[in-house]
């Protein structure tokens, strides 16, 4: 499953409530907001350019968001859709720490992907631990390569791998 990084630049009136009004359609059509920036230095007399960064799973919704904004009288200055982001969640079960988790992560990242988050649940040292990894890539192929590498790592280190 992938999603897109969207950069949307809007011209908002410098009045209260404008920001909320702009956020509503983004949220309604499944945008996952990651950042909002005011471009104060480019401020006009009564308007202000604002940049919204968000993730969108279904690219078709981008035009719906644009139409909804324009219907509200908000001017869309420009929008950029970044490359698609491909994501995968995996679970590792076993002696994940005792088998050098840093080496595991290095080898994953050597496949050209990012490990965005790591969660671990650890019991007694002699018990197996469970680790959840969020992996992101800009190409599906890199994710596929990573999964092959992970299979190898898990076989070597005797870990159980559960893929999404």
């Amino acid at each position: 499953m992938g999603s897109y990084n969207i950069r949307l630049e809007l011209e908002l009136k410098d009045t209260p409530g404008q920001l909320l009004m702009a956020l509503e359609p983004i949220a309604r059509f499944g945008g996952n907001i990651r950042g909002i920036y005011h471009e104060r230095e480019r401020k006009e007399v009564d308007s202000l350019p604002v940049v919204f960064l968000f993730e969108l799973e279904d690219l078709k919704n981008l035009s719906r968001i644009k139409t909804a904004l324009e219907d509200k009288g908000i001017k869309v200055i420009k929008f950029l859709k970044d490359a698609e982001i491909f994501k995968k969640i995996v679970l590792l079960i076993g002696h994940v720490f005792a088998t050098n988790i840093l080496d595991t992560l290095d080898r994953i990242m050597a496949c050209g992907v990012r490990v965005r988050e790591v969660y671990a649940m650890i019991n007694r040292p002699e018990d197996p631990s469970t680790v959840k990894l969020f992996i992101e890539a800009d190409e599906q192929k890199k994710l596929d390569i990573t999964m092959e590498e992970l299979e190898k790592i898990c076989e070597e280190k005797n870990l159980m791998l559960i893929k999404s």
């Binding site: 969640i89 469970t130 159980m160 559960i162 999404s164």
Partner: protein, 347 residues
């Protein structure tokens, strides 16, 4: 009205379930399909009930008798293997225990039946896993039908869906939850937040899991079913048949309670999934979105076919149970008879 003479091999959960269904559906089969089913013999491991009339055995008496050895038609020590070729019958229904090692005793029974000109209906995976190619070829050479709808997914009509209802599409991949016992265990780990060992014990107490549960939880049963699905549905005529040792199998034994929790945080569930995709055959734990149609709970089974025209189609249902599996057996018998009647009319 067509008379269908049946030899039943196996008088256990499914065998008895089948006999009950034959009584229950007697008038339905006559009215709707014009079929009159006679059970000419029923075999167990230590003998068999053999009819001495041409209307078959009195099924009710078989099901209600306390000590089967007291039944007037019981013949001690007679073997299905020897009797199948000698007896006159149209269909052999093979329902002995599954044995993935050498396929016996079912393999011998099916060979004898096909060689002596009888169609075969079975829910027994063993012979199909061990000798798929041989049996398909034997059936073709003898111009007999070999149907096994009950062997995968119990009551779910997997093969007829692929064969009859998706004729226009090419099925590209198959994914499924093919074992109700493991699915029950994993579902309980999620809903009750209990560790694997306790969920397994519960499954054993409820009779879903055997005392030795390895056949289910280590993925052997699911792998056998995946092999049958792949060879029946995905294999093109020019391609070779896949073998059991080509399937990568991983057990669910080591799944921790923490893994279930970590998955849940992202609206995912861990399921034991069998998949045949891009030439890869695998059975193992997998993360599925909770909303995936494949992610059924309790003892249910599910199967998704991905095809070129129809896209993804998922069917869900009970993967086991005497009555449920008997429904698949009976459907196979009807299917075979309809085909037989059609061939007769064309000649």
């Amino acid at each position: 009205m067509a008379d269908v003479r049946i030899i039943l091999v196996g008088f256990g959960t499914v065998g008895k379930g089948f006999l009950n269904v034959v009584i229950e559906k007697k008038s339905f089969l006559k009215e709707i399909y014009g079929l009159n089913l006679h059970i000419n013999a029923v075999f167990k491991s230590d003998g068999g009930f053999i009819s001495n009339t041409n209307t078959g055995l009195d099924i009710q008496s078989l099901l209600s008798i306390k000590d089967y050895k007291e039944h007037p038609q019981w013949v001690k020590d007679v073997k299905a293997y020897d009797k199948i070729p000698e007896m006159e019958a149209d269909i052999v229904v093979e329902l002995t225990p599954t044995n993935i090692g050498d396929g016996e005793p079912g393999l011998g029974h099916i060979r004898q039946a096909l060689k002596s000109g009888k169609d075969v209906v079975t829910a027994n995976k063993g012979p199909l896993v061990v000798a798929f190619q041989e049996l398909i070829t034997l059936a073709e050479e003898n111009k007999r039908f070999l149907h096994y709808e009950g062997a995968v997914g119990g009551a779910i009509p997997v093969f007829s869906l692929a064969r009859e209802n998706l004729k226009s599409s090419k099925i590209i991949s198959i994914e499924g939850i093919l074992n109700g016992t493991t699915n029950f265990i994993l579902s309980r780990m999620v809903s009750e937040k209990i560790p694997f060992e306790i969920a397994l014990k519960e499954a054993q107490e409820l009779g879903y899991a055997e005392r030795d549960p390895s056949y289910d939880i280590d993925g052997i049963d699911a792998a056998g079913k995946l092999l049958i699905l792949t060879n029946t549905i995905l294999r093109r005529p020019e391609e070779r048949f896949v073998k059991f040792d080509e399937i990568k199998i991983e057990s669910i034994r080591n799944i921790t309670q923490e893994a279930v929790e970590l998955a849940e945080e992202n609206n995912l569930v861990i399921k034991h999934v069998a998949s045949a995709k891009e030439g890869k055959l695998e059975v193992g734990p997998k993360l599925l979105p909770k909303t995936s149609p494949l992610a059924v709970s309790s003892t249910l089974n599910s199967i998704t076919f991905k095809s070129d025209l129809a896209g993804e189609i998922t069917i869900i249902g009970e993967g086991a149970g005497g009555r449920e599996t008997a429904s698949a057996v009976l459907t196979d018998i009807i299917t075979i008879f309809k085909k037989r009647i059609k061939t007769k009319n064309n000649n």
